[in-house]
Every structure is written in structure tokens, then in C-alpha cells.
């Protein structure tokens, strides 16, 4: 039997299915049939057992996962929590209900504190579910962690699930819900995990069944015969040896150079990016320097971090994006006023402009770090929506002494006026995730409108084409730094629309590099025409896929 969905990337995997257990229902608030002391004993045993279990998982996982899990174990052992549970048990509640309520009350407290502590709320939820599962003698919900490799099947994965996912064990991912831009798909591209999303019927595949997951066709073959298994094994081996082949620069079949760059969120990922053949950095996100702090880091603090990154790319291009924060990623010193529509609020360059010293300090730190290194440093402003904002940013950047200043194109207004914006800006970099969100007016974090969040949509591609045309006319580079660049076939379309470089998660570089080599610039332009003529994202994808495989 074969199911189909949308494949992410080009990989293939074969393994046994493990379904992600569904979340537990809220324990009922019915009086306990046991004595208060008996319930106290049950609660104490379950909390201790859960803490021990979490700690053991942490030991196995190691690395940063170990710290996260260690912190969770402390939560299960917390004396204040345990007192709170006991107080609730005195009123005759069951251990399940008391544990649930105690964790929920701390969760609400953390959420009300906001910022970093608010983000820990999901950890408390996870621990709470685990303790309740322990009490009920059922399997713990959330990401399974067996001692063998498996193909994970889930409705969809939440960020909290993926943070705990042991990627060494996951051969592939199948989801029943979620589209090509769901969180699962983004994770799969980032980590280069074989994935097929939106597979109706996937939740009915029994645990332990062997499946072949083929992302290039979107097919999930359940219980394949010997012949199919053999062929899959060969295909998987071939791909593995291909990935080990030395990585050259990004080129089309006609030798047109399309530099392939890395998206990085800290200087830590630099070595891996270089190893995977990144020709530079197309998007360096600087938010990590500012999160979890009550005030902006000093120029010197920032400078050492930028310098560490630049040092990893001697003589190569590194594009640094100025701090991109808003009410959806609040920073107390920048903008913590609640907003009804954070995506449309005081964010990106708008927030920096309201706090110009933070922008000036950041640009100064970048320039100082540039002086210590040989990397070719470019800076760009996030969420630029007008020509006037472009001039504001580039003038400050040049005043500080930075040579190359550009803008991110994420808002339709700036894509439509790219022919004017690029007169002033030295380059444009298209953030396809936000451009899609703003073009289709669909919140990219809202599951109910996730189907709109598809960069293959011809409206989005037409805007990309506007920027591409403006760049070509003015001789200015146009990069892509959204998730779209990590989709191999879409990457070719973007080149056809005028993109001159592509930046993506380092794990996606190999597939995109291989795909680019298959087509000439004329073919890429032909694909772009086909996609622009389509009436929907689905039609665009289908039209280009059909032409590519003919």
C-alpha cells in the first residue's frame, strides 16, 4: 500500500514506524477514592520516577538536550511544587488532578512573567504530562525516544517536540497534517531529515510496520516487498555517497555562478556551514545576542561575537541582519508594549528606529569586528517597507563606516518599489517566509491558515520577479534568504526570477547544489514563467515538477 503527501527535499529513508502518542486528556476533577496519604504516596513516587526517567534521557542525549532535560528533572523534583501538590491532595483530589493543577498554576505564573521564563512554560507542560502518564500507567506523550532508529509518524510536530527529538534516531518523518511550510517541514529542511508531510491516513499505520519514505516523490510505501526494499537500500546508499562528494560552488548547468550561502543564528554553526560548502553567510541572525537579557549588549560584547563569526569566513561574504524583534519576540528594552497584530506592528527596522542608539551600537560593533577580519561584511535591515526607511538605514550604516548596506524585502510594498529601493540600497535579500505571510495576509504561526503559507504561490513569485528585474536593471545583487531557497526545485525557479545568490540552512546546501547543476539559466527562466502563469501554489509546483521530469 502506498500513501502520498508532499515530500520535503530529495531524500529517501526506510525504517519501522513509531507513532507519536497523542496528548493526554486533562485529568478529571473527581474526588479520590483513596486516602489522602495514599494519594500523597502515589504523587511522590510518580514525581521521583519521572525525574529519574527524564534525567536518564538527558544522560543518553548529551549536549544541549541534556541541559534542557536536567532543568526539567529539577522541575519534577521541585519542593515548592511538591508542597503545592500536597496541599491540593489534602482537599481530596486525585494525584493526577493535583499534579495537573499544580503544574498548571506554575505554568500560568511563568507565562505571566513573559520573556525567557514564559518560554519555559512548555517545559512545565511536558513534565506535567509525563508525571500524569506515570500515574496512569500509560505511555508518556510527546516525542518517543526508543533505543533504536525509527520513522516518526505524528499529526504535526510543535517546536517543543522537535527540540527534544533525538535526530540520530529519526530516519524519517511522516505527518498527517501540516503542509510544505509547517514547522515539521522547516525542521526537516534545516536538519536534512527525510520527510513527507500532509499524508492522509498516516496515523493509521501500526507501530513497527516497515515503510519506505521517498521525499522526492512524496510517496510512503507501507510494508514494501523484497524488491522494493532492495531498490530503496541501493537508492539510500547512492544518495549517501553523493552527499560525501566534495562540495563545489553553486553553479547552473551552463556554469552561471549562483553562490550558495548559509543562514546562521549564532557563530557556533559556522564550522559546519563551511564543511557543507557554504560560500559565505547570506543571513546572520543577531537576535541570539539580545534574547534573555534586560538590556542591549554593549558594543564590545557584540563585537567579539561578530568577530568570531567573521573569522570563520576569511575573504568570504557575510551578510549580517540588524536586530529583528517585535511584539512576537519581545525584548523589554526595545518594545514590550503588547500589540494586537505583532506582525504588523513596531518591529524590525521600525523598532530599531524607535531606539536608534541600539541600531548605531550594533552597526558600530559590526564595523569594528569587520576591521579585525578579512570577511566581506554586508549589513541589512529587517522589515523595510518604504524607500524612506531604506535611505534611513543605509545612511546610518554608511555614516558608521560600513561599505555595503542593503535591505530585506519581506513586505510587498518594498518588492513593488524595488526599482527605486535598489537605487539607494546596495543589495536586496528576499525573506520569503515573511513575504509570503504579508502577501497572502496569513499569520505564519497560525495553524488554521498554514495552507496559505506557501512560497510557490504565484503572487509571491511575481513579487520576487519584480525584485529580480530591478536588481538586473540596476546591476544590484538579489539574494534569497527564506525557507524557499532550501526547496531544491523552487530554488531553481527563484534563480529564474532573478535571484543571484541563495542562502539557506547549511543542511539544505547539498540538495540545492545538485539541483542547480541540472538546469541552464534559460531552463530556470522557463520554470519561472510556468510558475508565474499558474493559478495557485499547488498548480505552480505541479507545472514546474512536470516540466522538470519531462
Amino acid at each position: 500500500m502506498t500513501f502520498t503527501g508532499v515530500g520535503i527535499g530529495r531524500g529517501m529513508a526506510m525504517g519501522t514506524v513509531l507513532q507519536m502518542p497523542a496528548p493526554l486528556p486533562e485529568p478529571q476533577d473527581a474526588p479520590s477514592a483513596l486516602s489522602v496519604d495514599a494519594e500523597k504516596e502515589r504523587a511522590a513516587v510518580a514525581l521521583a520516577a519521572t525525574a529519574a526517567g527524564i534525567r536518564a534521557r538527558g544522560e543518553r542525549a548529551g549536549g544541549s538536550a541534556k541541559d534542557v532535560l536536567e532543568a526539567q528533572a529539577f522541575m519534577a523534583e521541585d519542593p515548592t511544587l511538591s508542597d503545592d501538590v500536597k496541599a491540593r491532595l489534602e482537599t481530596g483530589k486525585t494525584a493526577e488532578r493535583a499534579v495537573f493543577e499544580a503544574f498548571a498554576s506554575f505554568r500560568d505564573l511563568l507565562v505571566s512573567m513573559g520573556g525567557y521564563m514564559g518560554e519555559r512554560a512548555t517545559d512545565l507542560d511536558d513534565v506535567s504530562q509525563r508525571v500524569v502518564a506515570q500515574l496512569q500507567g500509560v505511555e508518556a506523550p510527546g516525542v518517543p525516544d526508543p533505543d533504536h532508529q525509527f520513522v516518526l509518524v505524528a499529526r504535526d510536530l510543535a517546536p517543543a517536540d522537535t527540540a527534544l527529538l533525538n535526530l540520530d534516531k529519526v530516519l524519517g518523518l511522516i505527518t498527517s497534517d501540516g503542509g510544505p511550510t509547517s514547522h515539521t517541514a522547516i525542521l526537516a529542511r534545516e536538519k536534512s531529515i527525510v520527510a513527507v508531510v500532509g499524508v492522509a491516513g498516516a496515523l493509521d499505520i501500526p507501530n513497527g510496520t516497515t515503510v519506505i519514505v521517498d521525499a522526492s516523490t512524496g510517496a510512503v510505501t507501507v510494508d514494501p516487498d523484497e524488491d522494493a526494499r532492495f531498490k530503496a537500500k541501493i537508492a539510500i546508499q547512492e544518495r549517501a555517497s553523493l552527499a560525501k562528494a566534495p562540495a563545489g560552488p553553486g553553479r547552473l548547468a551552463d556554469d552561471t555562478a549562483i553562490p550558495l550561502l548559509a543562514n546562521l543564528g549564532s557563530s557556533g554553526g559556522a564550522a559546519e556551514a563551511v564543511e557543507l560548502g557554504a560560500e559565505g553567510v547570506g543571513l546572520f541572525r543577531t537576535e541570539f545576542l539580545f534574547l534573555d537579557s534586560a538590556q542591549a549588549p554593549t558594543v564590545a560584547e557584540q563585537q567579539s561575537q561578530y568577530s568570531a563569526l567573521f573569522a570563520a569566513f576569511p575573504g568570504k561574504k557575510v551578510v549580517v541582519r540588524a536586530l529583528d524583534a517585535g511584539a512576537d519576540k519581545p525584548l523589554s528594552f526595545l518594545n514590550d508594549a503588547p500589540e494586537e497584530n505583532p506582525a504588523l506592528g513596531l518591529r524590525g527596522l521600525r523598532a530599531l528606529r524607535a531606539n536608534e542608539q541600539i541600531l548605531r551600537d550594533q552597526l558600530t560593533a559590526i564595523r569594528n569586528a569587520e576591521a579585525e577580519n578579512t570577511a566581506e561584511v554586508w549589513v541589512m535591515a529587517p522589515m523595510v517597507s518604504t524607500l524612506e526607511e531604506t535611505r534611513y538605514f543605509t545612511s546610518i550604516a554608511r555614516e558608521v563606516g560600513l561599505k555595503t548596506a542593503g535591505v530585506m524585502i519581506e513586505v510587498p510594498s518594498s518588492a513593488l518599489l524595488a526599482d527605486r529601493i535598489l537605487v539607494d540600497a546596495d543589495f536586496a535579500s528576499i525573506g520569503t517566509n515573511d513575504l509570503t505571510q504579508y502577501t497572502l495576509a496569513a499569520d505564519r504561526l497560525l495553524g488554521s491558515v498554514a495552507s496559505f503559507q506557501d512560497p510557490w504561490h504565484p503572487a509571491v513569485l511575481r513579487l520576487v520577479g519584480e525584485v529580480g528585474k530591478a536588481g538586473a536593471a540596476l546591476g544590484k545583487p538579489v539574494g534569497i534568504c527564506g525557507e524557499a531557497a532550501a526547496d531544491p526545485l523552487l530554488a531553481v525557479v527563484l534563480v529564474g526570477l532573478g535571484a543571484t545568490s541563495l542562502s539557506m540552512s547549511p543542511a539544505a546546501l547539498a540538495d540545492v547544489r545538485a539541483e542547480l547543476r541540472l538546469y541552464t539559466i534559460e531552463q530556470a527562466q522557463h520554470f519561472a514563467e510556468l510558475a508565474l502563469k499558474a493559478n495557485s501554489a499547488m498548480e505552480a509546483r505541479a507545472a514546474v515538477s512536470a516540466s522538470a521530469s519531462s
Binding site: A71, F74, M75, D78, P79, T80, L81, D83, F106, L109, L110, M113, G115, Y116, M117, D292, S293, A294, Q295
Partner: protein, 88 residues
Amino acid sequence: MAERTVTIASTHGLHARPASIFTQAAAKAGVPVQLTKGEKTVNAASILGVISLGIDHNDDVVLSVEGDDENAVLDELAALLSTDHDAA
């Protein structure tokens, strides 16, 4: 019982990492340690309790220890609170 008032040195208050460093040290002390801010007192070995006090930079808190070596324990924990863990 020994008590001491300490001013919080960490630039960002007793959140996240500094709170975790402090509560683990309090848990290792082997004797009951209480932390008080204003009217509210919590078990100093409880990260959830300590975080729930919402302690900020320059807040005054009271540490109280009961048991053997109470002054040595006070010295150690007070030193942690008067160190700026965010300056690292």
C-alpha cells in the same frame, strides 16, 4: 537561625541561569534555607519558588538558614547572590 540581607547583583535579576545556580547550591547545603522578598518566603532550593518571587537587580532579599554551620552556608549563598552572573 541565622539571617542576612543581600542585594541582588545579577544585572538581570534572579532569573533563569542565576536562579538555577543559586537553587542548586541551596539544595546542596543540606540544611533548610529560606529566601524572602517583601512579604513572601520560599524554599531557596526550589527553582519554581525562587523564580516566583520575581527578583530583580538591586532587590534586597533575606536569606535565612537553620542548622549546623549556618553561618558558613549563609556566607556561600550570600556570595552567590552578590555576584553578577550575567557579567560573565
